[in-house]
Amino acid sequence: MILSATARPHPPAAAVSPAKAQIAFSHVTLDLGGKTIIEDVSLDVKPGEFLCIIGASGCGKTTALRLAAGLYQPTSGDVTFDGASMRAPRRDVAIVFQDYGKALLPWRTAAGNVSLALETIGMPASQRPARIDELLHKVGLPNHAGKYPAEMSGGMQQRLQIARCLAQEPKALLMDEPFGALDAMTRQGLQDEVLELVAASGATVIFVTHDLEEAIYLGDRVIGLLPHPGRIGIELTIDLPRPRDQLTTREQPEFLRLRRELFDFIKASEA
């Protein structure tokens, strides 16, 4: 069978001791509406690792991410963060939603949206403007502080959501198809920006995408889910050198080989 043939044994990740993992799923099963959506998923994400999750539509990627976020509680098994059970969302785990239009406060300007996170972590009002400037600058929106989300393009709104997440000073970023609704050029630009931001902050990332190339380009590791119920079907370590480059990285034989492998996996999983 293709799946077992391509799913290479992957000693480094599997051998990591639970204490060392930052985000750990152990035998996680989740039932929703009488249906098993995620079944017996075990997974360790190390601090600073960039993990990508791919899979066919409806295979449970979003559900897995929401489990990692503490927005869902497993029916059985356990999700832990730094060794502690995820009973509820944590402030140091930020979530970037795909539907940025719904995740921003439309009645607040860009600065106001970033400020929401700063207000909540209790930063004094006098320190906020400087921090807001810094964050908006970081995500490439330095001159848009006074704009309302409705006045911004999709790419800008997603940048803004990322800025708000960075304001939480997260140890981990969970991103659910964050660039799914954006055009190819905007997408590639944001991919590089996210890589830079993550490299600078050292945050752990779980990144859900249905774009195989995006997953390989960004990740240290790619996990593919099988549908009905969602479970891990493939796990690939990406050893492409960093920093990655939109042109040269994507032309490397190793990149093409990995893409082929994931492509075959998706095709088989849909069959």
Binding site: A69, L71, A88, P89, R90, R91, V93, A94, I95, F97, D99, K102, A103, L105, P106, W107, R108, L116, A117, E119, T120, I121, Y148, P149, A150, E151, M152, Q168
Partner: protein
């Protein structure tokens, strides 16, 4: 201001001027007895006299006060209740049927009850005005709170926002367009009920002034009062629209 808008303004002004002219014509030709219908000239004179030497200003303020107190009370209670009901699914399903029963109840039916409870007093007026004005706001607030984007609640959870912060920073602003349009509707209701209560209870205000003028066949004074009531309705609605535009700037901006 763009030319099209200017045209509209000019046209509506001309129509209004036409009405006043027609009114003057009808009065001058005595098509209706002057005892019942004064011309705009006499109504205007009475208006000026009432403000300079009479107590028309005091009556106007009286009506504005009745209206404002009732409306404010209705706003506070309506928004607070609406927030409580709208933010909880259980509350919605428990309370919604009672609301559906109470809402179509004509306010006129509640007036005898209010008179029995409070007598012919300011308290009765406050109660009736507030009771009538609360519905648009209550229902709009319930709807606004129920329609908050669930994603925003997840953002709030992920940030560990306090309950109070969630209400004031997410739910209330999100519901504000609904709430404000409810408040605008209530304003008209409050004015109508202020006049009705003044007439019924003989409270100091334009409603009672209009009634007394009619009884004494002082038609010019009667019309002065009616014009003032119209002006109050118009000005308060305009003011509310301006507040609405300012507060909801985020909605109209952009594409």
């Amino acid at each position: 201001m763009n030319p099209a808008l200017l045209m509209w303004r000019a046209a509506s002004f001309l129509v209004a001027a036409g009405f006043v002219g027609l009114w003057q014509l009808v009065a001058n030709l005595k098509l209706v007895s002057p005892v019942f219908l004064p011309g705009p000239d006499r109504a205007w004179a009475s208006l000026v006299r009432g403000f300079t030497s009479g107590d028309l200003l005091a009556k106007t303020i009286g009506t504005l006060e009745h209206m404002a107190y009732g409306w404010l009370l209705a706003s506070i209670v309506g928004i607070a209740l609406g927030a409580m009901i709208g933010s909880s699914k259980a509350m919605r399903s428990y309370v919604a049927p009672s609301l559906e029963f109470l809402r179509p109840l004509p306010v006129s039916a509640i007036i005898p009850v209010a008179i029995a409870l409070f007598g012919l007093t300011q308290g009765m007026a406050l109660f009736v005005i507030a009771f009538g004005a609360i519905w648009p706001m209550l229902l709009a607030t319930v709807h606004g709170f129920a329609a908050v984007e669930p994603r925003l609640y997840e953002v709030a959870r992920s940030l560990h926002m306090s309950r109070l912060a969630v209400i004031f920073k997410i739910a209330l602003p999100s519901a504000s367009p609904d709430i404000i349009s409810g408040m605008r509707l209530s304003l008209t209701v409050a004015l109508i009920l202020a006049v009705v209560c003044e007439i019924l209870a003989g409270l100091d205000g334009l409603g009672y002034w209009v009634l007394l003028s009619a009884r004494a066949f002082r038609s010019a004074d009667l019309f002065a009062g009616v014009i003032l009531l119209g002006a109050i309705g118009y000005v308060t609605a305009q003011a509310m629209s301006m507040v609405e535009q300012r507060l909801l700037r985020w909605r109209t901006s952009g594409h």
